[in-house]
Amino acid sequence: MKFLCIDCDTQMTFDERQVPGDGTFAASFACPSCGRRIAMLANEMETQLVNAMDVRIGGRTLREEPMQLIRTSVSGRADALDDIPPAGSAGRVRAVWSAESEERLARVPSFVRGMVKKIYADYAQERGIVQITPEVMDRARSELGLEGM
């Protein structure tokens, strides 16, 4: 899919995505020539179509975790998977989880929780974020296109 600024006859570029958590999806595109921005608003069905294909509008910015589709789409057994932290991660500075963010993480089904925790921790580390708060989680979810996390 390409977005064209008709006035400038210039292809618009992907700007940012938003995942509000209500099953819908939004992405904005901007014209590099005149700066005009537009928003593409996808309804639940359109969002689900993209999720079922396991692709990301605006491109994938994150390395896919093993069995990401299954873990985010299936109600699985709580103790089915044992996520092992990456080798050498013990020495790395990891962001601290605020009480509110831990509470929110605890509401994520156990089947997928280990993976979700790793994704947010990696996101924080890559950006030098020292504390993971619900706001950081929201930002990460939108930036990374993580519906259902």
């Binding site: 899919m1 390409k2 977005f3 064209l4 008709i6 006859d9 292809q11 570029t13 992907f14 099953g23 595109f29 639940e44 069905m45 689900q48 179509l49 079922a52 294909m53 396991d54 692709v55 990301r56 509008i57 605006g58 491109g59 994938r60 896919e64 093993p66 069995m67 990401q68 589709l69 299954i70 985010t72 789409s73 299936v74 109600s75 699985g76 057994r77 103790d79 089915a80 998977l81 044992d82 996520d83 092992i84 990456p86 080798a87 089947f111 280990g114 993976m115 259902g148």
Partner: protein, 299 residues
């Protein structure tokens, strides 16, 4: 309301292919990358064999599991079994595979079952007796199920740390279309083994799946006829269990070898519960070794 209806002049603009810039989402590239993950993962797997049947209830999972076990005793390079029957998985239980499954940077590690067979199955991910429930809006699940199931099969192939294997046995759900899904993901598939029972109903149903395999160009290793009579422990004889001779009839009709017939055995403490006659394992193994994998056109 379009421009004409609104009484304003129509604007002209370039179409998709006239705009030279790259698609910013690159959905095609993302899907290609998903396929590449499967291809890369299976580079260390020498042969991939599908065990299929057009008909359910023929004991396909039993044959696939017992075959994996029998092959593991004959091959030093390792044997894996992927239970691709997502909605009715049983192979991991038959082989005694247990979780939890370790997840690290290399992927999800398969369970190691009896005979050192590496096993991956949805059964290892679900609560006891729970069906596969997709967390999608109810009322629309039928729309997404096919996409999700194909995506799940892709992850079970490509996200599992199979490592080096001589053979990966893929136990397919009943139905010819399942082979199509697998073949799209694994075009280098070595071949398919067909399982039937003797009945005429099975012959007709399995014939369809054989035709599907032929249409796809998947090499057919041969046919195994399961429940081919009832083996009586008392008299030592084998008595008929079903009317029909589907295995032989299909072999004749399609020019495919009948690799063996497996009688139904009653429970007996003196005999392993998961075992195929050695002649059947040998015949399937030999067929697998001489079959040239499907040639993947270089892109």
């Amino acid at each position: 309301m379009d421009a004409g209806t609104r009484g304003v002049e129509r604007v002209s603009f370039r179409t998709y292919h006239e705009v030279e810039g790259r698609d910013s989402s690159g959905l095609g590239e993302q899907v290609a990358a998903q396929r590449a993950r499967v291809t890369n993962r299976l580079r260390t797997v020498a042969r991939t064999v599908a065990v299929m049947s057009g008909k359910g209830g023929v004991g396909k999972s039993y044959i696939a599991s017992a075959l994996a076990l029998g092959m593991a005793a004959r091959m030093r390079g390792g044997v894996g079994l992927l239970d691709a029957d997502l909605n009715s998985p049983t192979a991991s239980r038959l082989l005694g595979a247990r979780g939890p499954l370790r997840v690290d940077a290399d992927g999800v590690h398969p369970a190691v079952a009896q005979g050192d067979v590496k096993v991956m199955s949805m059964e290892l991910l679900l609560d006891e007796g729970q069906p596969v429930t997709w967390r999608q809006p109810s009322g629309e699940r039928f729309v997404w199920r096919g996409l999700l199931e194909t995506g799940a099969l892709r992850e079970l192939l490509g996200d599992v740390a199979w490592q080096s294997l001589d053979v990966l046995v893929v136990d397919l759900a009943p139905g010819g279309d399942r082979l199509s899904d697998l073949f799209e993901l694994v075009p280098q598939l070595t071949g398919a083994l067909v399982v039937t029972i003797p009945s005429e109903e099975s012959r007709v149903s399995v014939e369809r799946s054989i035709r599907t395999a032929q249409a796809l160009g998947v090499p057919l290793l041969g046919i195994v006829e399961n429940m081919s009579g009832y083996a009586c422990d008392t008299c030592g004889g084998t008595r008929p269990l079903f009317d029909g001779r589907a295995g032989a009839a299909l072999a004749e009709a399609f020019g495919i070898p009948l690799l063996g017939s497996v009688p139904f055995h009653p429970v007996n403490d003196q005999r392993p519960q998961l075992e195929l006659p050695a002649s059947v394992v040998d015949a399937v193994t030999a067929s697998l070794m001489i079959t040239q994998p499907t040639q993947v056109p270089s892109s």
